[in-house]
């Protein structure tokens, strides 16, 4: 007898090209079978009617700041995992810019242990590229990889030294894992928001688009030399989209992700000096937003990732210039992507789901993100037409720095199943 039978949903599994009304059977934590309605016996411990809903592989977010260890007052692995399943994510990747940074085997084991204790979403750790994220010496990538790290990144900062990045790419080939770069030339990090007319009017120092593109250009040169796997985090500029498009056309092993804020907000949002809009890379111009959307639509940008970055209320009550960078989106990401990409007719549901499931699964080389028979039973059931209002005060996350608070969105996860177990039902 099956554990769970999901009936009559629109089953979308981009990995196998499936988009049809079907039933999905789950047993022992695995997908048993996907078949046209009525073909699978209804004898199951739990039968879920998914009529009018979308049944997708469990969503994956490559870029989450869980803040643990070090800033448990802002978020923990447990609260991240709770927020994740409420947002429809079966899997999230934890960025290593914690305190201390996750740069060794013990830190990776710690994340996995806390994930197990929370027993909600799967939390896969990303290890640092360099020791203490200092950009100087390579961290023990192979040992971290054996312990369970799925990728490496010094996110928060780019690896500034060309020599170090070159060595890191060469070394990572040993493991066939991607290096995830936060592209920002530190010499050009001279402000708090996008450079341009809005920053000039506000008297704020600017973060030039060139700072992102210069590091990306350099890295693409290194990727060409090493043929190592490279993933660009949170693409924010039209120039970066163009560079990535050319790199992919040239056959380089490059992938990329875009974040909700770079698909929906511009630097004009900073005009009232509200630090809730302060993020790195910064909110750019309307042309950049359009270019990033088009990059996602045409596949130049493979994945959608939130860059969920919780901060304590007192930190975001400071002056714009003194407040930390970061916005939260884990619990409303799906609706945000719908607004940016489906409502604008740039993507259909299968296209959106691919960028949230099989594509990120391939980036981190995990056998996730599909509903094929035998696959890990991570399933997200989505009500595509449910209209709802974002209420930050109801988040499972510990923090509230969400620029979308009060937004009306369409599309909401109603159930998240992780490894064959229902972890969220809304």
């Amino acid at each position: 007898m099956n554990d769970i039978l999901i009936t009559n949903g629109r089953v979308i599994d981009p990995a196998s090209g499936l988009d049809a009304v079907a039933d999905v059977a789950i047993a022992k934590g695995r997908i048993v079978r996907v078949a046209p309605p009525g073909r699978i016996s209804r004898r199951a411990r739990e039968v879920i009617d998914a009529r009018g809903k979308i049944v997708a592989p469990g969503l994956i977010d490559l870029h989450v700041h869980c803040r643990e260890p070090g800033h448990e007052e802002e978020e923990t692995i447990a609260t991240s995992a709770a927020a994740a399943v409420a947002g429809g994510f079966a899997t999230i990747c934890a960025m290593p810019n914690t305190h201390p940074p996750m740069d060794d085997e013990a830190a990776i084991q710690y994340v996995l242990q806390r994930c197990q204790e929370a027993d909600l979403a799967r939390v896969l750790p990303i290890g640092c590229i360099t020791k203490a994220r200092e950009g100087k010496e390579l961290a023990e990538m192979a040992m971290m990889h054996s312990a369970g790290a799925v990728a490496f990144s010094d996110d928060g900062d780019g690896v500034a030294s060309t020599a170090v990045m070159y060595r890191a790419l060469q070394y990572a080939k040993l493991l066939d894992v991607p290096l995830m770069q936060h592209c920002q030339d530190p010499d050009l990090l001279t402000g708090e928001m996008n450079s341009g007319a809005v920053a000039v009017r506000m008297g704020m120092g600017g973060i030039a688009a060139a700072g992102e593109q210069i590091m990306l250009r350099r890295d693409l040169e290194l990727v060409e030399r090493t043929a190592a796997r490279y993933h660009m985090c949170h693409v924010s500029t039209a120039g970066s989209v163009r560079l990535l498009r050319e790199a992919k056309a040239a056959g380089l092993p490059v992938t990329a992700e875009a974040a909700p804020h770079h698909l929906l907000l511009t630097d004009a949002a900073c005009e009232g000096f509200d630090p809730v809009y302060k993020v790195n890379p910064p909110l750019r111009t309307a042309e950049d937003v359009q270019a990033v959307r088009e990059g996602v639509a045409d596949g130049t940008i493979d994945c959608l990732a939130t860059d969920h970055a919780p901060h304590a209320a007192e930190e975001k009550e400071l002056e714009f210039g003194l407040a930390p960078f970061g916005v939260m989106a884990l619990e409303c990401a799906l609706g945000l992507y719908v607004k940016a990409l489906i409502d604008t007719k740039l993507l259909d549901w299968p296209g959106l789901i691919a960028r949230m499931t099989i594509n990120p699964a391939r980036v981190i080389g995990q056998e996730l993100g599909t509903l094929a028979a035998g696959a890990v039973a991570d399933v997200t059931i989505i009500d595509p037409n449910r209209r709802w209002t974002v209420r930050a005060e109801r988040f499972r996350s510990k923090s509230r720095n969400c620029p979308y608070d009060g937004w009306r969105l369409r599309g909401r996860p109603v159930m998240t199943i992780v490894g064959g177990v229902i972890k969220y039902a809304g």
Binding site: A199, V200, L322
Partner: protein, 313 residues
């Protein structure tokens, strides 16, 4: 159009000229005109703010702006309290907002705030019950300085509309430049900003001004030259090679003055580096209105303090 006589001031805060309409700016100037006379009396005091408390929060150094506000408040019969802190209040573990809330709890009606962070007065205006006046926030705005500059131009040249004003120097880092550009444009003046490309961001043209990198090219065509103080601390960033070279390119001197319109108005927000951005003969000459600016600053700040105390929104 609002008739001048019927204009009703509504704002409780003055955080920038960006928020103001042309009519509101003119109303401040007209109100300042009526306060100017107070300084000429033997008893230089009116009871307009008697019983009110004005707190001066200076998170950044200031001499003339602080004294000007202090004197303006006392001429309106307000009590003043002064808070000064060098650098960020965070260094002492207290946030700007907490500092202000604590002082507000002592019973304050109007805050005058200078802060190194752009937007700090805007944040306080959102969170406090008292009125907030911006006395300079980072590199963003310095509205009362621009108001006194515009007041002085109007006094000397009789109008603002149709004039051409050059602002010379470190435009990129200047709150005085920003507030002047905004205010002058709203009142119908043309503005050209002048300085080397490292000190004049090209995106500033979006504020409605022209950009010229050569002072000599604009001398003959402008009615006003407002010369900003060169901030020596800026060289560290390699924004210009030396004071000597800067002075050669952008320093105002007698020879350059000869090539200007005869009654060109020379302004400077102070403090002047004599011999750097202008020579003494220019600073002290008949075209200069530098001390008049300071005198007018008092009347403008009296007007602003008075108006925000009458504000309802």
């Amino acid at each position: 159009m609002t008739d001048k006589g019927q204009f009703v001031w509504k704002r409780r805060h003055l955080v920038g000229l960006d928020e103001l309409s042309a009519a509101e700016i003119l109303h401040i100037l007209d109100t300042a005109e009526s306060f100017r006379e107070v300084s000429t009396r033997s008893i230089k005091k009116v009871p307009a703010l008697r019983g009110k408390v004005v707190a001066l929060l200076f998170f950044e150094d200031s001499t003339r702006t602080r004294m000007s506000f202090e004197l303006a408040a006392s001429r309106l019969s307000a009590d003043t309290v002064l808070f000064t802190a060098k650098g960020s209040s965070l260094a002492k573990g207290e946030t700007t907002l907490d500092t202000a809330r604590n002082i507000e709890a002592m019973g304050v009606d109007i805050f005058v705030i200078r802060h190194g962070q752009a937007g700090a007065p805007h944040m306080l205006a959102r969170k406090l019950r008292s009125s907030v006046i911006n006395a300079g926030d980072g590199q963003h705005e310095h509205p009362t300085q621009a108001l006194l500059d515009i007041f002085t131009i109007r006094q000397r040249l009789g109008r603002i509309e149709g004039l051409k004003v050059a602002i010379v120097g470190d435009i990129a880092h200047s709150r005085v430049a920003r507030s002047n550009i905004i205010g002058l444009r709203k009142l119908g003046a043309e503005v050209v900003v002048v300085g080397p490309p490292t000190l004049v961001p090209s995106a500033i043209s979006a504020m409605g001004c022209d950009i010229c990198h050569h002072l000599d090219d604009v001398l003959g065509e402008v009615d006003v030259i407002n010369i900003l103080r060169i901030q020596f601390e800026r060289f560290g960033g390699n924004l210009f090679p030396s004071v000597r070279e800067y002075s050669r390119l952008y320093g105002m001197n007698a020879e350059r003055l000869k090539r200007c319109k005869k009654d060109v108005l020379i302004m400077h927000p102070g403090p002047i580096n004599r011999g750097v951005e202008m020579t003494s003969d220019v600073a002290d000459g008949p075209n200069s209105c530098i001390l008049q600016q300071v005198t007018n600053g008092l009347a403008v700040r009296m007007a602003v303090l008075y108006l925000v105390s009458q504000g309802t929104e």
